[in-house]
């Protein structure tokens, strides 16, 4: 990754993070669906990790989490901690498995949302919030994950399109494409 590409990618991620957090706070949080709000932030962090790898995923998670905690006047560090882990995990998933299925973003989004909510709840419990685990709390988390899953694919499309120009060419994908052409896949050359 050249320095220019890297700077361009970082600028795109930073701009995307700011837009997503403000859009989340100003609009999305105001529209409850089945009693819960869609939370775009963990989806965005997971998708950045899925596109850019574990290191950038973790750094984005930390920065987005800090921004959310600052903007919403919450306990600093709670969201950063959970989002850092979410971003790192999705990045490692890409580095180790590189899943290509069409529904991968949906599954990653759902898992990231669940991890963020459960992780957040765990930290809050550790900090001494007076709320025992109840069926209603579990229901809220399940509903939150479902609602986030519904918007996972559109969010993935937006994140991918926003970062596309700054992403470096992945040699593994290039190899995979070449292999597909040579093993019977439809090559663009064969059409002509």
């Amino acid at each position: 990754m050249s320095g220019g590409t890297s700077a361009s990618l970082l600028a795109r991620i930073a701009a995307l993070a700011v837009v997503v957090v403000f859009f989340q706070i100003g609009v999305v949080s105001e529209v409850p669906v089945f009693g819960v709000s869609v939370d775009l932030s963990p989806l965005m962090v997971a998708f950045v990790g899925l596109l850019c790898g574990s290191t950038l995923g973790a750094v984005t998670g930390f920065a987005v989490g800090l921004l959310v905690d600052l903007a919403l006047v919450q306990t600093l560090g709670v969201t950063s901690l959970t989002f850092t882990i979410v971003g790192y995990w999705s990045g490692r998933l890409r580095e180790l498995r590189d899943p290509q299925a069409a529904l991968t973003p949906l599954l990653v989004g759902a898992t990231a949302s669940a991890a963020a909510m459960v992780g957040y709840s765990l930290v809050e419990f550790l900090l001494g919030v007076d709320a025992p685990v109840s069926v209603d709390l579990v229901r809220q988390i399940v509903l939150g994950v479902l609602v986030n899953s519904v918007v996972a694919l559109p969010t993935w499309a937006v994140v991918r399109r926003s970062l596309e120009g700054g992403l470096p060419e992945d040699p593994r994908r290039r190899r995979r494409r070449r292999r597909a052409y040579t093993t019977g896949g439809l090559s663009p050359l064969s059409r002509s």
């Binding site: 859009f23 706070i25 100003g26 999305v28 600052l70 903007a71 600093l76 950063s80 901690l81 007076d130």
Partner: protein, 318 residues
């Protein structure tokens, strides 16, 4: 080369996790006036105008989503409201005769200095930010210390009690809603007058529980719960009496104390404009709030009577 990449990746993760834990520990351990809280307030001051602008620009989008949801619920809500209007009309007719006697009694007992919403300065504010998670029932408003807003100021809207100000920056403030686990409101049931503390229902972030009611309290479904105008600890906000909080949905029979489930009247998911009740220095609310803050824990100060009565209450241990 590969080892170097792996080491760097792990080092970044470790660094970020440790940094998060340090932030968390430092923030959780420091006083509200501490350095990290100040940084947060400073950030709030900087982003409040941006949030305000974004809020105004994105209002059409929000309204569009809101319209879809509102349309779905409009019909059932309309039928409920028609029934409610009929019930209220009957109650108003019944209350009119009692109102006259009540005014006479108030004058007779010199309770016309009773603290009310009118004793406060009302600052209208727009909600510019809202926490999306289920743990923090907080909103951010576009008015802060420059408009006279201070921590612990009560916040209401046209439907009822919304919450209280927990942090104030110069041009913005954070409001903890009544469904936030950190908020407790001294309240009474409208008809019986039994008093207790309204707190969020555990595991039900959208519902409230009026607790610590006397065991013989009679409460019926649909009765209104209003602020009692007292505080139970020095950390509490002094809400003026009579602000509607919610309606009783069911009664829980318990051994020593009785509690009732309360559904908030204010639609806390769709807050747009709220009013902050601020108290100018030297005013009756300000002096009563000072008095409440000076009480030792466990004692109650009353805003329902005169300052002398409140002093008497503090002297007798609430």
């Amino acid at each position: 080369m590969h080892d170097k990449t792996v080491r760097r990746r792990r080092a970044v993760l470790l660094l970020l996790v440790v940094l998060s834990l340090i932030l968390l520990t430092a923030y959780f351990g420091e006083a509200p006036g501490g350095r990290l809280h100040s940084v947060q307030r400073g950030f709030l001051t900087v982003i409040s105008p941006i949030q305000d602008g974004a809020n105004k620009a994105l209002k059409p989008v929000r309204d569009l989503f809101g319209w879809v949801g509102d349309t779905v619920h409009a019909k059932s809500e309309r039928n409920q409201l028609v029934k409610q209007v009929d019930k209220l009309r009957r109650e108003v007719i019944a209350d009119q005769s009692e109102k006259h006697s009540y005014r006479e009694l108030l004058a007779l007992y010199h309770l016309d200095r009773r603290l009310s919403v009118n004793a406060y300065h009302q600052v209208a504010a727009t909600v510019v930010g809202k926490s999306p998670n289920i743990w923090y029932a907080t909103v951010t408003i576009d008015k802060g210390e420059s408009a006279g807003v201070r921590p612990n100021d009560p916040v209401i809207n046209d439907e009822g009690l919304v919450g209280k100000v927990t942090q104030a920056a110069s041009d913005g403030a954070q409001v903890s809603l009544i469904t936030d686990s950190s908020v407790g409101v001294s309240a009474r049931i409208g008809t019986s007058g039994a008093t207790g503390i309204v707190q969020p229902k555990v595991g039900e972030p959208n519902d409230l529980l009026l607790q610590y009611l006397p065991a013989n309290t009679q409460a019926n479904r649909g009765e209104y719960v209003v602020t009692s105008g007292t505080v139970s600890s020095s950390d509490d906000s002094l809400y003026p009496p009579g602000i509607p909080i919610g309606q009783v949905t069911s009664v829980n029979e318990e051994s020593a104390y009785r509690s009732v489930n309360v559904h908030p009247l204010a639609d806390l998911h769709n807050l747009d404009v709220v009013q902050v009740l601020t108290a100018g220095g030297g005013s009756l609310p300000a002096s009563l709030s000072r008095l409440a803050a000076s009480l030792p824990p466990g004692q109650h100060a009353s805003a329902g009577g005169t300052a002398g009565e409140a002093l008497a209450a503090s002297g007798s241990g609430g």
